[in-house]
């Protein structure tokens, strides 16, 4: 059983002071501690970006791969070693921009992983270009006249693809995010938590204050099993932004389909020489 002290990383964190990433890191730490597994039983996976540095900052397993490729790596990881809790913590550019195709198809696979998306509307590490979630009109060095693409709504997308668990949070509410992560990890199948994360250096629109004025928590009247309600809440943006579990769609996971319950994880299984022999005989 790990508690926070066991997994807390004491080194320098290379984020800007005030960045929402610090808060998400705390939430991830808390959630992992609350899940109560040993440090080597969790794997944090990321791509590249500010958010994607997160796996370096928790003393569990980390896989810090390529920009945009967190999801296929996480999929491979979970398939290889089912015993791991696999949590992806990466940026919105990473997950919805460069990695957009993997997002779609990983949701379809319903692999049992939890994705914590640091949604800051920008490419932070490369200095503030608009990410796919940036609103129309957002001005950046590569969109000097403002964004002219309609923003991608990650929660709408995940819901319409039939994700098993879809939630939204705001980085500032550390405990709320932590609780969502715990619930997501415990839910079998693909879980997305899109976390609204202020980038204090480059996003001067979606600030703490901006979110503070808009974000509210869903109450018990919202039924996450109701697709229509989920889509309606997911679409709410602008004046009011709902936080919490938007959608739940329990269904068989990828590994449920692939293997009998109780099979040893792939990494521990060995091929039988007789099986190889039998295959060779097929050629005769």
């Amino acid at each position: 059983m790990a508690d926070i002290a066991d997994i807390h990383y004491a080194g320098e964190l290379a984020w800007c002071p005030g960045c929402g990433d610090f808060q998400i890191l705390k939430s991830v730490e808390k959630a992992i501690a609350a899940l109560g597994r040993k440090p080597h039983e969790t794997l944090l996976v990321s791509g590249i970006g500010q958010a994607a540095k997160l796996p370096h900052y928790v003393r569990v397993n980390g896989f810090n791969g390529l920009h945009g490729r967190a999801l296929p790596a996480a999929f491979g990881a979970k398939v290889a070693n089912e015993a791991l809790d696999v949590i992806v913590a990466s940026g919105d550019g990473d997950l919805y921009g460069e990695g957009g195709n993997h997002f779609i198809h990983t949701v379809r696979r319903n692999i049992d992983i939890t994705v914590v998306a640091h949604n800051n509307g920008v490419y932070g590490l490369t200095k503030g270009q608009a990410s796919p979630t940036a609103d129309m009109g957002f001005v950046s060095p590569t969109q000097p006249h403002g964004v002219i693409m309609t923003p991608l709504n990650p929660v709408t997308l995940a819901i319409s693809l039939g994700a098993a668990f879809v939630a939204r949070s705001f980085s500032k509410d550390i405990d709320f995010t932590a609780a969502l992560i715990v619930e997501a990890v415990k839910t079998p199948g693909f879980a997305l938590i899109d976390v609204l994360q202020p980038c204090v250096s480059f996003n001067k629109v979606n600030t703490y204050q901006w979110y503070g004025e808009r974000a509210y928590k869903l109450d018990a009247t919202h039924n996450p099993a109701d697709l229509g309600a989920a889509l309606a809440k997911a679409a709410e943006w602008g004046e009011r932004i709902p936080l919490g579990v938007l959608y739940k769609n329990p269904r068989a996971t990828y590994m449920d389909h692939q293997r009998a319950p109780g099979s040893p994880p792939l990494c521990r299984a060995a091929p039988a020489p007789e099986q190889v022999e039998a295959l060779a005989r097929e050629f005769c």
Binding site: G11, H56, N61, R69, A73, G76, L84, L266, C267, P271
Partner: protein
């Protein structure tokens, strides 16, 4: 009744060519014939013109010639394309009801009422079996030779289907035998030793499985798909997981994720797909996660000639991925060699924690040949993971060592968590920007080259007399044509040899230089326009080469092609 016979089976895609060929090949192998068969097909599902060329010889053939002695023509186009170039005895089998074209002169035309027979049996699908029967009669083979093959193929469907197919075969056989009691293209009696029949695709797949493959992710792409489907068909029973990825970028990243978490993993692709994997290859390089990549070449650029053969991606594979890291690249010369190579490639990836490439081509994976035995005892998964009892804390995933190889655990294997990382990192996997560490980590990765270069897998192989005057040098599947050319030349008293490379990275420079020392007539034979392998050979050995033989029209070499290319130069009278 000589020492060899070649049969072309031609038809449109979807006409059953694959079925007839498969029945014939399997029967021949079981009866004890030695065969080599190549496939020539278009990028379409129905129509067009495809053919299979089956070469049968007393000595194990390693290639098929570009001409044949007999032809099974399932359509007019097959007659038009192949009949004129038939050599003695020159036999064409066709169904006069569907094939109206006739060769202008020469070949004996055997009319077999395949469609009528099929109709009698109740379905067009029986044409294939009828054709096989007709072929058997023409070749002077006993139909019993096919009985077990038919059983394996059809009994699982239903007893009636089996019986009907057998009846169709018998009718086809009788139709020919009645008119030609003495078989017009008679084969010699085989040695009776039942042989295995493999193609490169299956051989690579089996080699991977034998070396402990647990996870495969790929995106379909000709001509690599056969490997992927071979493994996938058997995955569940083997406890292997096979995943069709959404794209090739995903495929290799899945493989890396799986390998980092303890499942031996591989992917299969061809040039365009490999191109999409370039970044992930680089990730495997710096994160030192073992991966095996079978890249099966077809001619490019871009879509190129999707179903044809080429060796154009050599340079690309040697330098794919940004940044610098060592890699293995193996190019097996035949299907049986591909089995051992694939197994070794997987193990060596683990041993050195590097990307390991199997560089094949359409000619390798789609060609079948017989083998006496696949020695399964030679390919086993070798465990190179750290011994947790000997591991000391803190666990350093990228520990600097003299060999360049760090003790490897997978995530979750021991109680020590660690980081697999894509940046320049510290020994523990944490990001660093320190110049000294950057230098040391680069040197660590390249330190592996020393051990890698000493590995014995895939060293260049010499065929022919040591004192040969002429040497054909090649890599990959060209070996077959080169070796057959050596034999053909020997038969007319020319001392030629073939030096066939399998491992091309790390390049076996010392071995190559030694083998080629003093040779002046070195002809590099390769399936590309730039002479990529020739340049590589020269760069590593400094040897002087003579006239190259290059082919870049999507077709494989045969022995005659090599000999013809140099006939004038050497005044060979052949």
């Amino acid at each position: 009744m000589g020492n060899q016979l070649t049969i072309t089976l031609g038809g449109a895609a979807g006409q059953g060519l694959v079925t007839v060929s498969h029945l014939l090949l399997t029967s021949l192998a079981r009866m004890g014939y030695r065969v080599f068969a190549t496939q020539d097909y278009m990028s379409r599902v129905r129509g067009g013109h495809n053919f299979m060329r089956i070469h049968i010889a007393r000595k194990q053939p390693r290639n098929a010639p570009d001409h044949a002695n007999a032809l099974l023509a399932l359509d007019n186009r097959s007659v038009e394309t192949h009949a004129a170039s038939l050599r003695a005895p020159g036999v064409v089998i066709l169904d006069p009801a569907t094939v109206t074209a006739r060769p202008p002169n020469g070949p004996l035309v055997i009319e077999a009422p395949l469609s009528t027979i099929a109709k009698t049996q109740g379905s067009k699908v029986y044409e294939n079996s009828a054709a096989l029967g007709a072929l058997f009669a023409a070749l002077g083979l006993p139909l019993e030779g096919a009985a077990k093959v038919f059983e394996d193929q059809f009994a699982k469907k239903s007893a009636k289907i089996l019986a009907d197919n057998l009846a169709a075969a018998r009718a086809g056989f009788d139709a020919v035998r009645t008119r030609y009691p003495s078989p017009p293209a008679a084969l010699w009696k085989p040695d009776g030793k039942r042989r295995a029949l493999i193609n490169g695709a299956n051989a690579i797949g089996l080699g991977m499985i034998a070396a402990g493959l647990r996870f495969i992710a790929a995106y379909p792409m000709s001509p690599s798909t056969g490997i992927f489907t071979y493994v996938t068909a058997r995955a569940r029973e083997l406890g292997v997981i096979s995943e069709q990825a959404e794209d090739e970028v995903a495929a290799l990243n899945m493989v890396i994720g799986a390998s980092a978490c303890g499942a031996r993993a591989a992917t299969t692709t061809s040039g365009g797909g490999l191109a999409l994997m370039a970044e992930a290859v680089s990730l495997a390089g710096i994160s030192e996660v073992p991966v095996t990549i079978a890249n099966i070449m077809r001619p490019g650029p871009a879509t190129g000639l999707p179903t044809r053969t080429g060796q154009e991606d050599l340079n690309f594979v040697l330098s794919i991925g940004h940044g610098e890291f060592p890699r293995f690249v193996f190019a097996p010369g035949s299907a049986d060699e591909a089995y051992y190579t694939a197994g070794a490639a997987m193990n060596l990836a683990e041993k050195y924690q590097v990307p390991s490439f199997i560089l094949g081509d359409q000619h390798l994976v789609d060609s079948y040949h017989t083998v006496d035995k696949l020695d399964t005892s030679k390919v086993k998964p070798v465990n190179y993971l750290l011994d947790p009892r000997k591991s000391t804390a803190p666990y350093l995933r990228y520990k600097l060592t003299n060999s360049g190889v760090s003790p490897r655990a997978y995530h979750g294997m021991t109680e020590a968590p660690f980081i697999t990382d894509s940046h320049v990192h510290e020994e523990n996997g944490h990001i660093t920007e320190d110049p000294l560490l950057a230098r040391k980590m680069a040197e660590k990765r390249f330190a592996k080259l020393k051990g890698m270069a000493k590995e014995k897998t895939g060293l260049p192989a010499w065929s022919g007399p040591k004192n040969a005057g002429v040497v054909f040098v090649c890599f990959g599947s060209v070996a077959g044509a080169a070796r057959d050319a050596v034999d053909t030349l020997a038969a007319i008293g020319v001392k030629a040899a073939a030096l066939c490379f399998n491992r091309v990275a790390p390049f076996p420079a010392a071995e190559a230089a030694k083998l080629l020392r003093g040779k002046r007539r070195i002809h590099v034979v390769e399936n590309n326009i730039q002479g990529q392998f020739e340049r590589l050979l020269i760069a590593h050995t400094g040897v002087k080469t003579s006239v190259p033989v290059r082919r870049y029209d999507g077709r494989p070499f045969d022995a005659a092609y090599l000999i013809n290319a140099l006939k004038e130069t050497y005044r060979w009278r052949i």
